[in-house]
Symmetry: C2
Subunit: 295 residues, 2 copies
C-alpha cells in the first residue's frame, strides 16, 4: 500500500489491456474497457496484494504484479456492472461518466464480462516462472468474485427476500480484499494463513468507510453520487446506527487490521500502511468530528 | 462429439457447480446459475474439446474434462447475457424460461458473471497433474470469450456504427469453437496447430446453421424464439442470400471442417462425428428441401 507501488500497478494494468486493441477488436468495447480501468481510484486492492507479497519475501515480482492487476480488473468489472441501470443506475464513477453512461448499457455489460476474462488472462500470462502457483491463484481470485461468497454473491444478496448484513458486506467487499491478501502470499509462494484475517478486517473497514462517506461525503470528495444507499434503500451501518457509531466501528476495524498483520520482516511497515490507508479513507480530523457529533 | 461423452460432461459440469451451494451462498443466484447450465443443449463445444483431446492421445482425462466444462460454462454465460433485456430480451431458451425471465435482469447479470468465473475455476481445479498446461489453457479460454476477438467482442460489433459480417460471426460463434478445439489439444499436451482450423470451420457451420434455423425453424424445434435475427435486424446470411444459398454454404463449411481434421489416430472417427453433428444441426432431408426450394 505504498505510493511507490503505483507506477508498477499502472504499468501492469496497461500491459493487461495491451492486447485488447490488437487487430480485429471492436473499437467501442476496447474503449469502454479502458475507460473502466483508467484513470483509476486508489488501487487499494492491488496495493494490498503487492504489500503482502513483499512482506512474504517476494521472489517472482512478475507474478505478484499479474495477481495485483487481476484483483484490480475484477474490482473494475464489479463497478461497471454495479453501475448498470438494473443495479445502481449510476451516471458518474471516479469523477467521470460511468461506463454505462458514456458507452450505453450493452457495452457496459460486455465491458464487465471482458474485464473478468482479462483478470484471469493477466495472472496466467504472468505465471511463466512459477506455473505451480497459478491454480491456487485462480482459485483465490474466483473465490473473491464468484459463488458461493464473492462479489457476485454479495450483490445477489440484494435480490434475496431476506438479507444477512454481515454476510452481504463480507461477500460484496470483504471477499476481494481477502483474495487480494491471499493472492499476494500465493504469488510469493508463501503460506496464506494469517493474511486472510488482514484482508477481512481491511475489507470490513473499507465497507464501513464507504457507508460513512455515502452519508457524510460530498460528490466532489468521492467522485461518485452520495446518498445512494438511502436512495436505493441499501443496508448501511451508518444509516442504521448513525455516523458516530459507524466511525467508532471503523476505527475498531482498523485496529483489528493492524493487529492481524502476521509477524514477518515487513510487518512494521505493513502496519504503518494500514494506518495511512485509514487516514485516506476517513481523515483523522473528520473521524474526530463524526465521533464528537453524537454527544 | 460422441454421445458416449455426454455423461462425463454432465458430471464435470455438476462438479464445477458443486461449490456454488456451499455454506453462505445466496440461494437465488445459485439457482440461476444452475438454471443456466441444466438441462443443457447439445453440449457441442465440450464434445468437440473432448474429441480433440482423445484424438491427441489424451493422457490427463481430468484436465480435458475440466477444459470441456469450462468452454460450456463460458457458452452458458454468453447465452445468459445475450438474453438480457438490453440485448435479445429473450423469454425462452432451450425450451424453458430464460434466466432473465425466470430470475430477473439483476440475477441474470450476476449469473453470467459467476459462470465466467466458474469456468476459469473449473479448469484450474483440474490442472493438478499437469500444472504447466494451465496457463496456455487459460489464455485459450480467454481468447475465446474476451477481447480482441472472442464472444464479448463479437457481441460488441452489434454496438459499432459499421459491422464486418465475417469478423462478427467469427468472434461471436467461431472463437469459442476454435478455443474448444485448441483447449482439447492443450489439455492433452499436444500441439494446437491444425485443430484451430477444424474449430473455425465448425464454428462457421454452426453459425450458418443457426441463421438457417432462425429463418426456417419452429419454436418447438429450437426451444427458443425464431425470427429473432429479423426482429432484431441482426446480420444473417440466410436473410441476405436466401435459405437455399445459406444451406449450400453450410454444406461447404461442413466439407471444409471434415477436410480440416489433422491426420492422427482418431481422425476417421472425428470426421464421422463432424458428419453426424451436421445432420443434427440441419437434418439431411431438410437441407435437400431447402436447396431445392431455390429452383
Amino acid at each position: 500500500m505504498s505510493m511507490a507501488a503505483r507506477p508498477y500497478i499502472e504499468r501492469a494494468l496497461a500491459e493487461a489491456l495491451a492486447n485488447t486493441t490488437a487487430a480485429g477488436h471492436p473499437p467501442r468495447l476496447a474503449a469502454a474497457v479502458r475507460h473502466a480501468v483508467f484513470p483509476g481510484g486508489a488501487r487499494i486492492r492491488p496495493q494490498l496484494c503487492l504489500a503482502v507479497a513483499h512482506a512474504c519475501d517476494i521472489d517472482d515480482p512478475e507474478l505478484a504484479l499479474g495477481a495485483a492487476a487481476a484483483v484490480e480488473l475484477l474490482h473494475c468489472a464489479s463497478l461497471v456492472h454495479d453501475d448498470l441501470p438494473c443495479f445502481d443506475a449510476a451516471l458518474t464513477r471516479r469523477g467521470q461518466p460511468s461506463v454505462q453512461c458514456a458507452f450505453g448499457e450493452r457495452l457496459a455489460v460486455l465491458a464487465g464480462d471482458a474485464l473478468i476474462v482479462l483478470a484471469f488472462e493477466a495472472v496466467a500470462k504472468a505465471a511463466g516462472r512459477s506455473p505451480h502457483r497459478l491454480a491456487p491463484l485462480v482459485a483465490t481470485l474466483a473465490g473473491g468474485v464468484g459463488l458461493p461468497s464473492g462479489i457476485a454473491a454479495g450483490q445477489a444478496w440484494e435480490c434475496e427476500p431476506t438479507i444477512d448484513l454481515a454476510r452481504y458486506h463480507r461477500a460484496k467487499t470483504g471477499a476481494l480484499f481477502i483474495a487480494s491478501a491471499r493472492a499476494g502470499a500465493q504469488a510469493a509462494g508463501a503460506d496464506t494463513s494469517g493474511w486472510e484475517q488482514l484482508g477481512a478486517r481491511l475489507g470490513d473497514a473499507y465497507q464501513a468507510a464507504d457507508d460513512i462517506r455515502d452519508v457524510a461525503g460530498t460528490l466532489q470528495w468521492l467522485g461518485k453520487p452520495v446518498g445512494r444507499d438511502k436512495a436505493l434503500d441499501r443496508p448501511s451501518l451508518a444509516r442504521e446506527f448513525g455516523l458516530a457509531a459507524a466511525t467508532r466501528h471503523f476505527e475498531r476495524l482498523i485496529d483489528e487490521a493492524e493487529g492481524a498483520v502476521p509477524e514477518c520482516a515487513g510487518s512494521a511497515s505493513l502496519r504503518a500502511l494500514v494506518r495511512a490507508e485509514a487516514n485516506r479513507l476517513i481523515p483523522r480530523q473528520l473521524a474526530e468530528e463524526l465521533v464528537a457529533s453524537a454527544t
